[in-house]
Amino acid sequence: MAAFAVLGALAALVLPNAGPTSELAWLAVGVAALLVAVGIVAASPAPVHAAVAVLGVIFLARHDLRLLLAPLYGAGLLVMEDLAIQTIELRGVERIALDAIGARTAARLTAVAAGAGVSAVAALAVTAAPGRSVALTALGGIAAVAAFAGIAYLARRRYRDPSDGGPTA
């Protein structure tokens, strides 16, 4: 239910300002809600992520303040995804300790806030930068590639196959 509430809030951020594409935006929000429901029922994260993608695309329907709202909207998308995933993960759990759910929620909110912060810093940088240029695009591309390379390195270090002969996690 909380995931749907966040989805509604995200839709409310876009739909009043969608202008001539509002009908399409409404349709996209409906599809996203349906995908989230399917993901929860089928206990699969893929439809949830498809819903996030759909909601991300309809953000472009908004006419103004897109750069300002993007970090908040992105964090909202992540919260919605996380709530839906938690619903799936906790389905088989019959009893949950309060401290377990508390620690989990706190850690996730902190990570979402950190993500929103990074996004906000990037938004400031984009706002301050001059118009689009090859150098700026290349810089953005390099930053993205570096971030993914870092994540790949972390994943490889954590889960290296012991048969490779290297140290195991």
Partner: protein, 425 residues
């Protein structure tokens, strides 16, 4: 423990990548900004992940119980790592064990600390059941990575069948020369009066019946029947069973066997068990309480083993079926091989009684009229088989688990008295 990225992580990374690429390609930085929190979230999760160092102990408040009872299993999960771990856990168990709570339990274990979770464990039926090890799924707090594994020991839990107390048992035709509670056909030292006869050389003075001597004018002695024990072999048919959600004929057969074993052992009989089916197991006849526990342990291991192999009486070792033993065949009479064995044993002169564990409670006729006719035919066939066995001198006690076994055995004793059974030799 086996570590892997959780199911959501590829999706998170794909969304982040899609946002970044779309932002760069279309010149709309908003898309990259939307993707940034996903990338940060996945990176933070990976940075915080690491193999948890968990160990577990399982403690049962007792390891032996009766059918229908429950025990408490206490799972103690210890975190030997340096950071707190959120863990979803559930003890692995055999299918016949019902746990409460039945799903997983999520706990948080601080570094160097223990978390304790209690489960109520109830076996669905008798048997040797296994509980443990604990299946754990731990992960980083963001749910980006998961570690799965099994920790802790595997414990055995034995659920003994609920037994009926039997007052009436099947009286054996022949007894063994050991002190027991059955009145033997032979004559000797005992309590039960047998006859009065003239004195012979070698008779003891205490046997002289002075009243009869005074009446007849010559020395008369009293003959008595001694009290002997007998050998009893419980033959359990494990070829086939009828089963539904509420249980099966093998469950009932084991209950009946346990009750009969206890009853005969308490009367100082030697009792043995033959598990006759797809596999053959046996326990040679012996006396005493230790034998009772051996028998119950052997019964707990009973199970239906599907097999096409045709077994007959020759496959049972001779020492397991001592001469003159009373054989109690506990069978649902569903398999031709067990019926043939029963008939073969009787034709070889064995003192035999069939305890027929009724499968009727577990078999319902199908919905159609043809099914109903088939069901009636099947029941008639069973009655004809019963009549055939009785014509061979085999007492058949028809028993269903809901009723007491005593009256069924009483009926068999009445049959054996009226049939005037005789043993060769």
């Amino acid at each position: 423990m086996n570590g892997s990225l959780s199911a959501r992580t590829p999706g998170l990374l794909a969304l982040a990548a899609a946002g970044a690429v779309a932002g760069l390609a279309t010149g709309r930085p908003e898309l990259a900004l939307l993707a940034a929190p996903f990338l940060v979230f996945a990176g933070a999760g990976l940075m915080r992940s690491g193999e948890p160092h968990l160990s577990a102990e399982i403690e049962l408040d007792r390891t032996r119980l009766l059918e229908g009872e429950a025990v408490t299993a206490t799972v103690r999960l210890r975190n030997d790592g340096t950071s707190a771990v959120g863990v979803a856990l559930a003890p692995a168990r055999t299918r016949q064990l019902v746990l409460e709570p039945s799903g997983t339990v999520a706990v948080r274990v601080a570094p160097g600390a223990e978390a304790e979770v209690r489960f109520l464990v109830r076996p669905r039926r008798w048997g040797a059941h296994a509980l443990g090890p604990v299946v754990v799924r731990a992960g980083d707090p963001l749910g980006v990575t998961t570690w799965e594994g099994r920790v802790g020991p595997r414990l055995d839990l034995r659920a003994f069948p609920r037994e009926q107390r039997l007052r009436e048992l099947v009286a054996p035709l022949r007894t063994q020369p050991f002190l027991g509670t059955h009145v033997a056909r032979a004559r000797g030292d005992g309590i039960e009066f047998a006859d009065v006869r003239p004195f012979r050389v070698g008779d003891r003075v205490r046997q002289v019946n002075w009243r009869a001597t005074a009446r007849r004018g010559a020395l008369q002695v009293t003959d008595r029947h001694p009290e002997h024990s007998s050998d009893v072999v419980l033959l359990i048919d494990t070829f086939e069973e009828a089963r539904d959600d509420g249980g099966g004929t093998l469950d009932s057969a084991v209950r009946a066997a346990a009750a009969l074993a206890r009853g005969h052992l308490s009367r100082r009989d030697r009792v043995g068990v033959v598990d006759f089916g797809g596999t053959l197991h046996w326990l040679e006849p012996a006396f005493g309480t230790t034998q009772l526990y051996r028998i119950i342990d052997a019964l707990l291991a009973s199970g239906i083993a599907f097999s096409y192999a045709w077994r007959d009486v020759d496959s049972i070792p001779r020492r397991v079926l001592p001469s003159g033993a009373l054989v109690l065949a506990i069978t649902p009479l569903l398999d031709e091989r067990s019926t043939a064995l029963v008939i073969d044993l009787r034709r070889r002169g064995c003192d035999l009684t069939v305890v027929e564990v009724s499968p009727l409670d577990h078999v319902a006729p199908g919905p159609s009229a043809a099914n109903a006719v088939a069901y009636r035919l099947w029941r008639l066939q069973r009655e004809a088989l019963r009549a055939r066995l009785q014509a061979l001198g085999i007492g058949v006690a028809v028993w269903d688990d809901g009723a007491s076994l005593g009256p069924a055995l009483e009926g068999v004793n009445a049959f054996r008295r009226s049939a005037r059974l005789a043993l060769p030799g």
